[in-house]
């Protein structure tokens, strides 16, 4: 069923009795050409592009819970392509372009809203760094504008501009950045992949990876053994655990990142903003809630919940940037488990096991990457080699020294 205005009108007149499930609920087949482990945005996008661009439709996406129950449902929905380094920026700009055409591609309203992403700065040094990053973005074909304090004030007047310690002196604005509806991205990719014949198998946890003679043969699951020609791992947060089933030890630590929403209020923040004096980012949902987050908790964690010091820290940053939120009540908080890689950048690559592919290490930047991650991972799986866009996101870069370290923080995952 193709969604359209005509369909909505037709169903409105028929009491909404004609809607069908957006995807099937198939039992696993004995064998697939490709199995994607992980039914989050990245895994489902991979399946969609495998089927659409590479003609590989005998594909299963295995999800241990329900699709989108992991980090795809636990982020702050920000999309942007404002990176500095060449290995990253081409990739994220490709993702931005895919976001811009995603709803037409998927025939699904993913609520992509290009409301702009504004990175505030508070000192000359920060301004220089922002200018350098903006230049890098423009050299890679993305958009970026350096705003002075007066331009920022005209755009978002309610900030604490004249803070004695961290006065706002300007911002780096990417107008094409913004937000997308995270659940709709999952559902849209699932539906589009399913329509091309991909089996989406929920409540099916991978418990083992069968490797014979250095080549992957299939996966053991809670619903039995499933043979596969190729297996792609897109299970960030738990990548280390799943990859260990194939004997791999990875440059990844799992950390928890929290996010928060406030009670709903009238329109206050019409763009996405980041605070330059602390790690803090905020936007406002269409329901009116402020959606915001900050640092990871900072120690290895597989618990999908965080600790109170970070709640306090994020709330302090929020009030420092937007004093008018001081009396606002926080409605909910949640935590997601992140693959924190050793240089803060992701891995989309082959592995030492033939037929086993890795999509991992997204740190807390995975959501914006969803379309390009699936696009590049599908290419890597289909052609058994990386596309130019993910050529730098190699697993062996930690051995060769070709790191992609945006923050220059070194091999300390909790600092990225």
């Amino acid at each position: 069923m193709t969604y359209s205005l005509w369909r909505v009108a037709r169903e409105a007149l028929r009491g909404n009795t004609g809607w069908e499930p957006a995807w099937r609920d198939p039992a696993p087949k004995p064998r697939y050409d490709v199995i994607v482990v992980g039914g989050g945005g990245h895994g489902l996008a991979t399946a969609h592009y495998l089927a659409k661009l590479h003609g590989i439709t005998n594909v299963a996406v295995l999800e241990k819970s329900w699709i989108g129950s992991g980090n795809a449902g636990r982020n702050t929905t920000i999309i942007r392509s404002n990176y500095l380094l060449p290995g990253n920026e081409v990739f994220y700009e490709h993702s931005m372009k895919l976001w811009e055409g995603l709803e037409q591609d998927l025939n699904f309203n993913t609520m992509v809203s290009q409301r702009g992403v504004l990175n505030l700065f508070h000192s000359d040094g920060e301004r220089d760094a922002a200018a350098r990053r903006g230049n890098s973005m423009r050299l890679h074909g993305a958009d970026g504008e350096l705003l002075d304090a007066a331009q920022v004030r005209a755009m978002v007047p309610l900030l604490d501009f004249d803070n004695a310690r961290f006065p706002i002196t300007g911002g780096l604005l990417q107008r094409r950045g913004g937000t997308a509806r995270h659940d709709a991205v999952v559902w849209g990719y699932a539906r589009a992949a399913d329509r091309r014949g991909v089996d989406i198998i929920q409540n099916c946890e991978v418990t083992g990876i069968r490797v014979e003679g250095g080549r992957v043969r299939g996966v053991e699951t809670t619903r039995g053994y499933i043979a596969a020609g190729k297996v792609g791992l897109a299970c960030a947060g738990n990548t280390s655990r799943v990859a260990a089933m194939a004997g791999l030890r990875l440059p990844i630590e799992s950390h928890v990142l929290q996010a928060f929403v406030s009670e709903a209020i009238k329109p206050l923040v019409h763009t996405v903003m980041t605070f330059g004096a602390g790690h803090f980012y905020i936007s406002q949902s269409d329901k009116g809630s402020l959606v915001f987050g900050g640092d990871i908790d900072g120690y290895n964690s597989y618990a999908q919940r965080g600790s109170l010091p970070i709640v306090e820290h994020v709330a302090e940053a929020c009030v420092a940037l937007l004093p008018c939120t001081g009396r606002l009540r926080m409605l909910r908080s949640w935590g997601g488990v992140m693959d924190m890689s050793m240089d803060g950048s992701p891995i989309i690559d082959r592995t030492p096991v033939d037929g086993l592919y890795l999509n991992a290490g997204w740190c807390y930047g995975g959501f914006k990457a969803t379309p390009a991650s699936g696009w590049c991972f599908a290419h890597t799986i289909a052609h058994d080699q990386a596309h130019a866009l993910n050529a730098a996101m190699r697993l062996d870069r930690f051995a060769t020294g070709a790191l992609i370290d945006e923050n220059g923080a070194g091999a300390q995952p909790n600092l990225h």
Binding site: R249, S254, Y299, N300, S301
Partner: protein, 86 residues
């Protein structure tokens, strides 16, 4: 999360600095690059019991080895590095 410092008693985790997995075998200076790569970059990253280094920076400033469950944050042991098993 509250950490039972063997010197200062139970304190909030915000008093501590986290360093990561404890007791990774440090290669000799002459060891081949591959061994140094494993030491610097690769981690077991278990879901469950994890031995890890914390420093009580806002307390006694001693380095501690914690044995903590990464799923529940239950701390089974917290000992000074000088007293910890290698």
């Amino acid at each position: 999360m509250r950490i039972p410092c063997p010197h200062c008693g139970e304190r909030g985790n915000e008093e501590f600095l986290y360093r990561g997995a404890a007791c990774l075998p440090r290669p000799s200076a002459e060891a081949p690059d591959a061994q140094w790569h494993d030491y610097v970059y690769l981690r077991d990253n278990p879901a469950g019991s994890h031995r890890e280094l914390w420093q009580h920076v806002h307390g006694c400033r001693r380095w501690l080895v914690l044995t903590r469950d990464t799923r529940t944050h239950a701390i089974a042991a917290a000992v000074d590095v000088a007293a910890a098993a290698p």
